[in-house]
């Protein structure tokens, strides 16, 4: 199990720039999601909100290993993936509030953010539902000879879905440049994954001959190192990879899932927050290695905060779509 790697050829300057970029990326997601929580709790945001807080290192570590024109598919808990792949928070918030300026003109909402400009094929609210689309994008990249790679994000709940195994079989058979990223936050909604998942997770990709790795999903450097290796392999024509990221969802399944005692203990949540927080893990390492000063990190956070605040203000002020748009975009 690989947990850490540093690019040997990169100097301290290049390296710290990269980790600071990821620090900022994780802060953006954390601050974005805190605002989502706030907007939802104040009843400004309609629908459902599934927060990514606690899992930031996964999206950021993986998307930093990708090019802008590489593809991702995301999940119902997808805000982190979308932001990390390059979506801008103002149009994200606008979509979350159902505004016309949103990425989907208000037609998709929180669970369906899609953005061709950043290679985001869309968040999917069917658990495991995007495995076909991601694998198809990889098929297309190979067929067209573009060297693009596709990443399929899914939660461990999707391990129960048959589609995933069908496309893993196909991806190996056809040597497709796709990476299956399993975010194991330990809970399928309100049920511990051990109650739903037989056998070992990594035995699944192994059965198809897909190279697989398990990483500490709270350590963005570990995630990024493993992802970079798999992306490199996929781009070189060596086919699919499977990355199991062990992580934790700080909040409930959705905002409003407040009484969680029946499925997990408060102490468990507190322990992860205190000891395994991805932002803390990275910042402590940056400070310890003297790759950044506290003031620098504070400044990054403050800038991120004002960007998020401005994005929220933009979305709140943005108009709703006219009802005349309801019939548009059914057909291309």
């Amino acid at each position: 199990m690989k947990t850490e790697s540093k690019p040997a050829e990169a100097g301290a300057g290049a390296s710290s720039e990269k980790w600071l970029r990821m620090y900022r990326g994780m802060q953006m997601i954390r601050l974005f999601e805190e605002q989502v929580n706030e907007l939802y709790t104040r009843a400004v945001m309609p629908g459902l909100a599934h927060l990514y807080i606690g899992e930031e290192a996964v999206a950021v570590g993986i998307c930093d290993a990708l090019n802008r024109d590489d593809y991702i598919t995301s999940t119902h808990r997808g805000h982190g993936h979308c932001l990390a792949k390059g979506a801008s928070p103002d149009r994200m918030f606008a979509e979350l509030l159902g505004k016309e300026a949103g990425y989907c003109r208000g037609k998709g909402g929180s669970m369906h953010i899609a953005d061709p400009a950043s290679g985001n094929l869309g968040a999917n609210a069917i658990v495991g539902g995007s495995a076909g689309i991601a694998t198809g994008a990889a098929f297309s990249a190979k067929h067209r000879g573009t060297k693009q790679v596709a990443v399929c994000f899914f939660g461990e709940g999707a391990l129960g879905q048959g589609l995933l195994y069908e496309v893993m079989n196909l991806a190996r058979l056809w040597n497709l440049p796709v990476i299956y990223v399993c975010e194991n936050n330990m809970y399928n909604e309100y049920t511990h994954f051990s109650e739903t998942t037989a056998g070992e997770v990594l035995a699944r990709p192994a059965a198809f001959g897909i190279p697989a790795e398990s990483v500490d999903g709270q350590d963005v450097r570990a995630v990024n190192a493993a992802a970079s290796h798999m992306v490199e392999q996929a781009r070189a024509g060596n086919g699919p990879g499977f990355l199991l990221c062990n992580t934790y969802r700080y909040h409930g399944h959705h905002v409003g899932d407040v009484s969680r005692d029946y499925y997990r203990a408060k102490q468990e949540e507190q322990k992860w927050r205190a000891e395994r927080d991805p932002i803390k893990v990275l910042s402590e390492w940056l400070l310890g290695e003297k790759l950044a000063a506290q003031a620098q990190l504070d400044e990054i956070q403050a800038k991120a905060k004002s960007e998020i605040d401005a994005a929220v203000a933009f979305a709140l002020a943005a108009p709703y779509p006219g009802v005349d748009q309801v019939g548009e975009d059914v057909y291309a």
Binding site: Y71, G102, Y103, C104, R105, G106, K107, G108, H112, A114, D115, P116, L121, G122, N124, I126, G129, S130, A131, G132, I133, A134, T135, G136, A137, A138, F139, S140, A141, H143, R144, A150, G162, L163, E166, V167, N169, L170, L173, E328, D329, V330, Y331, A332
Partner: protein, 331 residues
């Protein structure tokens, strides 16, 4: 008008010719499905195509309908034009999430940002003694879903022109072929042509009664029309060709002209294609109708195996003839 070269092709040949021409014209078009390459499908519709286009464009898949249909959706979103082959229409049940929750909704949910230019070819039709899991006509299920287009060709000419339109369309299109009609012959021009969606075709003109029929039922309606002619009833046979988009105008106008209409489709009668079309006619031609619109579809039973039982479940020339005669009050 210049002389146009016309040959007789079978339905299977017309489908194959449409696919081949589109694959020559557009390198992004490819076919994917179970036993489509060397085998050319169990119905031999695609025979010879892998020899011309190679295995990278005529692609055999494992028996994983949801998996390769999902791959089709993703490939369509990212620059290719897949033609996904689902051997039996009954297997549509396996790919419903990929069609209904994914392909049909991607364009809308993304506010128009992504498109899914994919064709899914599949079969319909009973009377092949294939029993309940290889005989259904499930076009109503997919016609129900916004975002999909549904095509039901009834002649080699229509099959070729409509399939070319389907491949060039930027939306997911479900293309149903009646597996009992692959050997049916009909005239097909040599020249390139397409047939627009949402334009019904009057297969036979008549004055006394309108028979609206889809796919396999067009031949049944034409057979019934011949029987009706013998007793002095002039039947008009209208083929909508696509259930969505639906050419409501032509259906209503024909019913207004004849004042009677029967709708025939091989899908289950209850909650089926016939119900929707009958409603369109009943609403649009209400004041011109002499009788309630009648519907004829498959019986509300799983398709049985035993030949006399199976034959009792699907509409025939004779059942349509009897219904039309009764509606026209002739003995």
């Amino acid at each position: 008008m210049p002389e146009v070269a016309v040959r007789e092709l079978t339905m299977a040949e017309a489908v194959r010719e449409a696919l081949s021409e589109e694959m020559r014209r557009d390198p992004t078009v490819f076919i994917m499905g179970e036993d489509v390459a060397e085998a050319g499908t169990p119905f031999k519709v695609l025979s010879g195509m892998v020899e011309e286009f190679g295995k990278s464009r005529v692609i055999d898949t494992p028996i994983s309908e949801p998996g390769f249909t999902g791959i089709g959706v993703g490939a369509a979103m990212t620059g290719l034009r897949p033609v996904v082959d689902i051997m039996f229409g009954d297997f549509l049940t396996l790919v419903m999430d990929q069609l209904v929750n994914q392909a049909a909704k991607v364009h809308y949910m993304s506010g128009g940002a992504w498109k899914v230019p994919m064709v899914l070819r599949t079969t319909l039709g009973a009377s092949r003694r294939s029993a309940a899991q290889h005989s259904q006509s499930l076009q109503a299920w997919l016609s129900h879903v916004p975002g999909l287009k549904v095509v039901l060709p009834s002649t080699p000419y229509d099959a070729k022109g409509l399939l070319k339109t389907a491949i060039r369309d930027d939306n997911p299109v479900i293309f149903f072929e009646d597996k009992m009609m692959f050997r049916l012959k009909g005239p097909v021009p040599v020249e390139d042509y397409t047939i627009p969606f949402g334009v019904a075709d009057i297969k036979r003109e008549g004055e006394d009664i309108t028979l609206v029929a889809t796919s396999s039922m067009v031949q049944v309606a034409l057979g019934a029309a011949k029987l009706l002619e013998e007793i002095g009833i002039s039947a008009e046979v209208v083929d909508p060709r696509t259930t969505w988009p639906l050419d409501e105008k032509t259906l209503i106008e024909s019913a207004k002209k004849t004042s009677r209409a029967i709708v025939i489709d091989e899908g289950y009668e209850r909650y089926g294609v016939t119900a929707e079309i009958a409603s369109v006619i009943a609403t649009g031609a209400f004041y011109d109708l002499d009788a309630p619109v009648k519907r004829i579809g498959a019986m509300h039973v799983p398709i049985p195996f035993s030949p006399p039982l199976e034959d009792a479940t699907i509409p025939t020339d004779k059942t349509v003839f009897e219904a039309a005669r009764a509606m026209c009050k002739r003995s």
